[in-house]
């Protein structure tokens, strides 16, 4: 990272702090009020902030660029009232209750299933709606809630598209190994993936669980070298992903494909790995090069441009997911023609099937994202950029497989 981009990145949150407050100020007669919590501090704060920037971006666009959104023949502005839940479920529940009391009808989600679950139980019981992009646990969707929607598929179904991508590789990989962080989301998605891959005929050699805070993976990599899998799948937090990749380079541990669900998309990853990031594959629920477009924001590219022009925090798919939540709400409201009928809006959300900048938004009957339409695309770092390699119809480049050994990467 050069000096300029460094200063830009460190300055970003300082510059943006006032924006948070101003977004609450412009309340007019016709407004749509969104509320909820995000972890701005604590364990989940990094991704939490990403989602928050997505929410902020959508609100700014709708209010400033579109001058409000036309619902039932009337322009509506959007307000956003978020608080920091500090990654703490107790804090989140009491403050969500506060917003329920204040009459908020439309909630946006926090990040992390152990917060989303208790909070969505409150909104559900109060008959309010939550559209979220931060809780993937199956339990959120399998307990009969009717007013909770997730922009992502539930954890156990998130690997479907990746498994399909493996099928397209040539030569066909034979063996896969897993490293995952031992938390609800990573574990369930790794287990789901493992089952899916075994069913598809791959041999799963080993699954290594890592603690949430890890300072050294040398030993796990020793196991990787000994097992020598074709593909190493890491379902880990971004800091751990960086650590794994760096130590793989340093200890010259090579696999034909390194697949890291979270990490390769982020700026920190590229900053940490430089040229070695090239060839690493990851999951992305959205990419600016995908050919989707919708009535709000326009195309995926337009969203990326608008975001970058107005915000300094490096863009990841979480921003798009956050904005996608608000877009889903607004599209449903447009259909209903008002912003007050909670039941009608819930039904409209449940029935949504519509292309947007984020992709085709369609929920399952239980409220989570459609595993095919809203499942992840597979991306690969190529020549410093992020290329979509699967699904084929959205691909911007072919998959590089097998990847070059670390020392040959440029």
């Amino acid at each position: 990272m050069d000096r300029r981009s460094f200063l830009k990145a460190t300055g970003s949150s300082v510059v943006l702090a006032p924006a948070v407050f101003s977004s609450q100020a412009n309340a007019q007669d016709a407004t749509i009020q969104f509320a909820g919590s995000v972890p701005m501090t604590g364990a989940a704060s990094e991704t939490g902030l990403n989602v928050k920037f997505g929410y902020d971006c959508a609100v700014k666009f709708i209010n400033e660029k579109m001058g409000g959104v036309d619902i039932g023949g009337k322009k509506h502005r959007v307000t956003l009232n978020l608080f920091d839940d500090a990654s703490d479920p107790a804090r989140a529940t009491s403050l969500i209750q506060k917003q329920v009391d204040e009459g908020v009808n439309f909630f946006l989600g926090s990040f992390g299933s152990n917060i989303v679950l208790p909070t969505c139980a409150i909104t559900e019981a109060a008959g309010r709606i939550m559209v979220q992009a931060g809780g993937g646990s199956d339990l959120i969707f399998t307990q009969g809630r009717r007013r909770v929607f997730g922009l992502f598929p539930r954890a156990s179904r998130q690997f479907a598209s990746t498994a399909a991508m493996f099928k397209t590789l040539n030569p066909q990989p034979q063996t896969v190994m897993f490293i995952y962080t031992n938390d609800a989301f990573s574990k369930v998605s790794a287990e789901g993936a493992s089952k899916e891959l075994e069913a598809a005929g791959y041999k799963v050699l080993n699954s290594i669980a890592l603690p949430a805070q890890v300072s050294d993976v040398t030993d796990a990599l020793g196991t990787v070298r000994a097992a020598n899998p074709d593909i190493l799948v890491c379902s880990t937090h971004d800091a751990t992903s960086i650590l794994i990749a760096r130590q793989m380079v340093a200890t010259n541990t090579n696999v034909k494909m390194l697949y890291q669900t979270l990490g390769p998309q982020t700026a920190a990853y590229v900053e940490a790995l430089g040229k070695y990031a090239n060839g690493v594959v990851g999951a992305s629920y959205w990419d600016e090069n995908a050919k989707y477009k919708g009535s709000i924001f326009g195309s995926a590219k337009d969203f990326a441009e608008y975001y970058r022009a107005n915000f300094n925090r490096p863009l990841t798919y979480h921003m798009a997911s956050g904005a996608g939540c608000i877009v889903a709400y607004v599209e449903a409201m447009k259909k209903v023609g008002n912003v007050t009928d909670r039941n009608a809006i819930r039904d409209a959300l449940a029935g949504l099937d519509l292309e947007t900048f984020y992709g085709r938004i369609k929920f399952t009957s239980q409220g989570d994202g459609d595993p095919v339409l809203l499942g992840p695309m597979v991306v690969q770092r190529q020549k410093g950029d992020l290329a979509v390699v699967y699904p084929t119809e959205a691909a911007t480049a072919p998959t590089l497989y097998p990847a070059l050994p670390w020392q040959d990467r440029t």
């Binding site: 208790p118 609800a184 669980a209």
Partner: protein, 322 residues
């Protein structure tokens, strides 16, 4: 005496009627207050009276929660008030048994070493709960509450926690008034002398530790019920342990009212006043903690208690945890 009974009755009436006048959010805040104040009171039995500062009391919150969840799942009890009571009682008992077993070895340690050992035990339990598949601490556990018809969850748990708080308060009161309580105080002032004078320090410490654990386990199991779904990281939180200490210190350690006042003050600050400060609430909380230490070295109760109070209960006297 009659004055006291009236005071107690008055308090009870206020607690019972309060939810009628509060919005659900404030009901939840008061509920959280009952929960955290009871935790601080339970910690205070060992930390405040005996001078044994546990940095890992959250272990009993987690253990209570996990024990309750597995117990009711194992027995396949149908969700309902009976199941909840069974779960909470089992969670409390389980913590009591574990505490009684570890009490003798762990209470041989003093001061900061006891504090760290408890921290370590808390961490071991948290890691095991999270990583041993059987415990399911990583994917999470589910504790369903069957609410009586027409009762909102926040109101229901308000009364549950209010009851547990009063129970903990009564236990603390009885402990402080008893010979046993004076035994704990003697241990805090000078354990070796107390022992030489024939005070059965070993038994007293073990008993105090077990009582404290039972209370915290009971609260932990109930907390798990109130969350509905919890993972190891929801209940094994170091900040629970820290908060118990901080509430006691801020209110006035070793007293009955101190932990309660401390909890009330800090909740008021963090939940209501500073909750809206978005990115600055940690900073504000930190500042408040520092200011209180510098301006009220004996806690809020030291402010109202006068010189005699200070001599008996000041942080200096309790300050053996080096």
């Amino acid at each position: 005496m009659t004055m006291r009974i009236f005071l107690l009755l008055g308090t009870l009436i206020v607690i019972v009627l309060l939810p009628q006048f509060l919005a659900p959010f404030h009901i939840r805040v008061v509920q959280l207050f009952f929960f955290t104040a009871a935790l601080a009171l339970a910690w205070n039995v060992m930390g405040g009276l005996a001078g044994y500062w546990s940095f890992g009391h959250t272990v009993f919150i987690g253990m209570g929660a996990f024990a309750a969840a597995h117990f009711v799942a194992k027995l396949g009890l149908p969700a309902g008030p009976l199941q909840m009571i069974a779960g909470i009682v089992f969670g409390a008992l389980f913590c009591g048994i574990v505490a009684a077993i570890i009490a003798y070895p762990i209470l041989r340690l003093r001061g900061i070493y006891f504090a760290i050992a408890m921290l370590g035990i808390g961490q071991v339990a948290a890691e095991l709960a999270n990583n041993v598949g059987w415990f399911q601490g990583d994917v999470g556990l589910f504790l369903e509450t069957a609410l009586p018809d027409g009762v909102e969850p926040e109101r229901f748990f308000y009364y549950v926690f209010a009851g547990l708080f009063l129970f903990t308060w009564m236990v603390s009161l009885v402990v402080m008034r008893s010979r046993f309580g004076y035994g704990l105080l003697a241990i805090r002032e000078d354990e070796d002398t107390a022992k030489m004078l024939g005070v059965p320090t070993e038994q007293i410490k073990a008993f105090g530790f077990t009582i404290s654990a039972v209370l915290v386990g009971m609260l932990g199991a109930t907390y798990a019920y109130s969350l509905g779904y919890f993972t190891a990281s929801s209940v094994f939180r170091i900040d629970f342990s820290l908060n118990m200490i901080i509430y006691c210190l801020i209110g006035g350690i070793g007293t009955l009212a101190g932990p309660v006042v401390g909890a009330a003050l800090m909740l008021l600050l963090t939940q209501i006043i500073l909750g809206q400060l978005l990115e600055l609430h940690l900073l504000a909380t930190g500042l408040v903690v520092i200011l209180i230490v510098l301006t009220l070295p004996n806690g809020v109760m030291g402010l109202v208690g006068g010189e005699a109070f200070r001599r008996r209960f000041s942080m200096r006297a309790g300050g053996k945890a080096r």
